[in-house]
């Protein structure tokens, strides 16, 4: 008989091991799924995890990993601060959209001027757009005690409506024959978040993501504020006695995640995406929640998790094209990853014991 026994302390080993085990379990059961669909499971798993990194065209896919992974990491780093303190910002997608709108809007206000200061102003605009959108749930929570999960999530849908509105009106390309969508920033040097080295995938968003990782690491390990964040999450009562100001913490955590999500949106719209369109957002803000947890809310873990998530997206599309796998199968595959992670988390807090049957 199998018995679960609560551990006195959460297991450090399992906390580190579960993401890896979850990825392996996903590979295995994903393979079973692909086999059930009549595909060669080894070939399918290889295509998803091997092709983008070491396959024939890896020279193209490796930079794409940076492009796909950078917004995920940038947003997830911000979310992880709040998640550690038990402050749940679920609306990063909305902050991402607002960052893109304000960032692109600030830039387009100068069109067609070429000047060095346009891009920095767009960066500030992007950060501000994300921050102000995150401040709404933050201030409502501090002032009226509203639930930040609900407010931030609902604001995603408001942001989507704003996105549709500006695509059709305020930011619509006047030379676009009446079609929705802004001018393409890629063809305007002063606003283009171009690759720093051609073909490297390295744009300012990637650089910012790496800086954010380092900052988060230092903050959490070397700074009083980081200690307060961790303390509030792990021992709320102790935090109270230690004099942590919960209102300040809420404002900081939501604000920081808003800024980073807004920056991610701004770098995306000025770089890889190029323009504000009705369908600009593709779910980075939600996927980043998975990345944050897959990375154990740890800055370095988040980088690895962002890489794995980006890999499944890029490899998944290759598998669709080369092997004819349906996209739904790829989505199930990605869903499995979170499922196994959450399921295996049990082992962090519990020990499995094989107890011999006892006669009562």
């Amino acid at each position: 008989m199998i018995v679960l026994e609560k551990r006195p302390q959460p297991s450090q080993t399992w906390s580190m091991a579960t993401p890896v085990v979850a990825v392996l379990a996903t590979m295995f059961f994903g393979g079973v799924l692909f086999a059930a669909l009549g595909k060669n499971p080894v070939e399918a798993i290889m295509t998803i995890f091997w092709e983008p990194l070491f396959g024939e065209f890896s020279f193209y896919y490796r930079p794409q990993l940076l492009i796909k992974g950078a917004p995920l990491v940038l947003i997830a780093i911000g979310l992880s601060l709040g998640f550690r303190a038990g402050i749940w910002n679920i609306g990063a997608e909305g902050q991402y959209i607002m960052g893109a709108i304000v960032g692109a809007g600030v830039g387009l206000a100068f069109y067609p001027l070429e000047a060095w200061y346009i891009f920095p102003l767009m960066v500030i605009g992007g950060a501000f757009g994300g921050w102000i959108w995150a401040m709404i749930p933050a201030i409502l929570k501090v002032r009226f005690g509203t639930n930040e999960i609900l407010v931030s999530l609902m604001l995603v849908y408001v942001a989507e409506q704003m996105l549709a509105s500006v695509s059709l009106g305020l930011l619509k390309n006047p030379e676009g024959y009446g079609f929705p969508g802004s001018r393409n920033l890629q063809s305007w040097d002063s606003a283009h978040n171009a690759e720093l080295f051609a073909g490297s995938g390295m744009h300012w968003g990637v650089v910012t993501a790496l800086i954010a990782v380092i900052f988060a690491y230092v903050l959490l390990n070397r700074h009083m504020l980081g200690f307060h964040i961790r303390l509030t999450g792990e021992a709320p009562r102790a935090a109270k006695f230690a004099g942590v100001n919960p209102a300040r913490l809420i404002l900081f955590c939501l604000g920081a995640s808003g800024v980073l999500a807004g920056l991610a949106g701004m770098f995306e719209v000025a770089g890889p995406a190029g323009q504000i369109t009705i369908d600009f957002n593709v779910g980075y803000g939600f996927t980043a929640i998975i990345v944050a947890f897959l990375g154990r809310l740890h800055p370095v873990g988040i980088v690895l998790a962002g890489g794995v998530m980006a890999l499944t997206y890029i490899g998944g599309d290759i598998a669709q094209s080369n092997l004819g796998l349906p996209s739904a199968a790829i989505q199930v595959f990605q869903g499995m990853l979170l499922f196994f992670l959450l399921a295996l988390d049990l082992l962090t807090n519990y020990r499995i014991r094989l107890a011999s049957k006892e006669v009562a």
Binding site: Y177, Q320, N322, P326
Partner: protein, 357 residues
């Protein structure tokens, strides 16, 4: 260690195998914005792909990726297809326009076909269908069939293609029924069964007994069926599973002849960049069978308009037509030019409400 080298060998083997097969075949890629099972837009493009396979058999290899988000993801998928040796790539959504142009620049020897856009290059063609011709047929039926004189219209996005369809349907509904009113709901999606069902229910509650949709799922059909006394039209595909009632007819996108012709052109080396905008006459827009729920004389009138549109003796936008603000657009007997239609951003006179800005 062993596993890694094993995997590497396997990958190499696979790579060689694909390359060898691809050499003497024409490879055609398709990028889809929705799932192939959407029963509408993407479904019909995939039917076109299957027709290419059926036509050329072993001489062609097709690949597709579905649910590809517009923007950088689509650019990556197109690049991947080009790298994997595609000779011709169909990108089947408006939002793929700039990505298609970007990728086409990098692969001058690969031909690209972008649906519903307006940017072309030496190796990028554009193609679209004159769906508004089908809307003229629908409008005629709708005008006759409505008893409440309220026709509901589910718009996707307020872009010229959708506005053209609303105007065409309205002009022809008014022609046979001067009291008819249009109620328009914008769903801001091409495919979202839940939102589409909500939109249909709202319109039915507001008295609409005819629902026209410019979204791709069958959810509005199901909502109309539940309501009982409401009729609908299939969109993009026939949606015949809802015939004879509520679905009384449909607009069918038939991409197969175009896809076959363009694939043939690549095989023969005669492919050239061009802009194609075909309607009922060329077979790109099909009118699904008009069911028995429609009286015989209405059906005959609708078919007469269809035939006149097909042989070119009638244009769906023939004057006199005024704009919504009362200003003149087309004089007596004048027909709309393609330039105005391509960028249409105004309602015709009689439609209430504003185009969302």
């Amino acid at each position: 260690m062993k596993l890694t080298s094993l995997l590497a060998t396997a990958a190499l083997g696979l790579g060689l195998a694909t390359a060898a097969v691809a050499a003497d075949k024409t490879k055609v890629g398709f990028v889809y914005v929705g799932p192939v099972g959407d029963g509408g837009w993407t479904y019909e493009h995939d039917q076109g792909r299957k027709a290419v396979v059926a036509e050329f058999g072993d001489k062609v290899e097709t690949v597709y990726v579905e649910n590809v988000a517009e923007g950088p993801d689509s650019e990556r998928v197109m690049t991947q297809m080009a790298l994997d040796g595609a000779d011709l790539i169909f990108t089947t959504s408006f939002g793929y326009m700039d990505p298609t142009i970007n990728v086409a620049k990098k692969f001058p020897n690969v031909k690209f076909e972008h649906a519903t856009g307006y940017k072309r290059a030496d190796n990028v063609s554009t193609y679209s269908a004159r769906f508004y011709e089908g809307r003229a047929v629908q409008g005629t039926i709708a005008g006759h069939m409505t008893k409440s004189n309220v026709v509901g219209y589910i718009g996707s996005f307020p872009i010229p293609e959708v506005i053209r369809g609303i105007n065409s349907a309205f002009v022809h509904a008014r022609k046979v029924n001067p009291d008819v009113q249009f109620k328009i709901v914008w769903a801001f999606t091409w495919f979202d069964p839940a939102k589409e069902a909500d939109a249909a229910k709202v319109l039915i509650e507001q008295g609409a007994d005819v629902i026209l949709q410019h979204t791709d799922s069958t959810a509005p059909q199901a909502a109309a069926q539940a309501a009982g006394n409401v009729i609908t039209f299939g969109q993009a595909s026939d949606m015949s599973e809802y015939a004879p009632h509520p679905r009384v007819s449909s607009i069918i996108d038939d991409w197969a002849p175009y896809y076959i012709a363009r694939t043939k052109a690549v095989m023969d080396g005669t492919w050239e960049s061009k802009d194609t905008w075909d309607g009922i006459g060329a077979g790109m827009v099909g009118i699904g069978e008009i069911s028995d729920a429609v009286p015989a004389e209405v059906k005959a009138e609708a078919l007469a308009i269809k035939d006149a549109l097909a042989d070119g003796s009638y244009h769906a936008f023939t004057g006199p037509i005024k704009k919504q603000d009362g200003s003149d657009w087309l004089g007596e007997g004048e027909t709309a030019d393609d330039g105005t239609l391509a960028g249409m951003n105004f309602y015709v006179e009689g439609i209430e409400g504003d185009i969302p800005q």
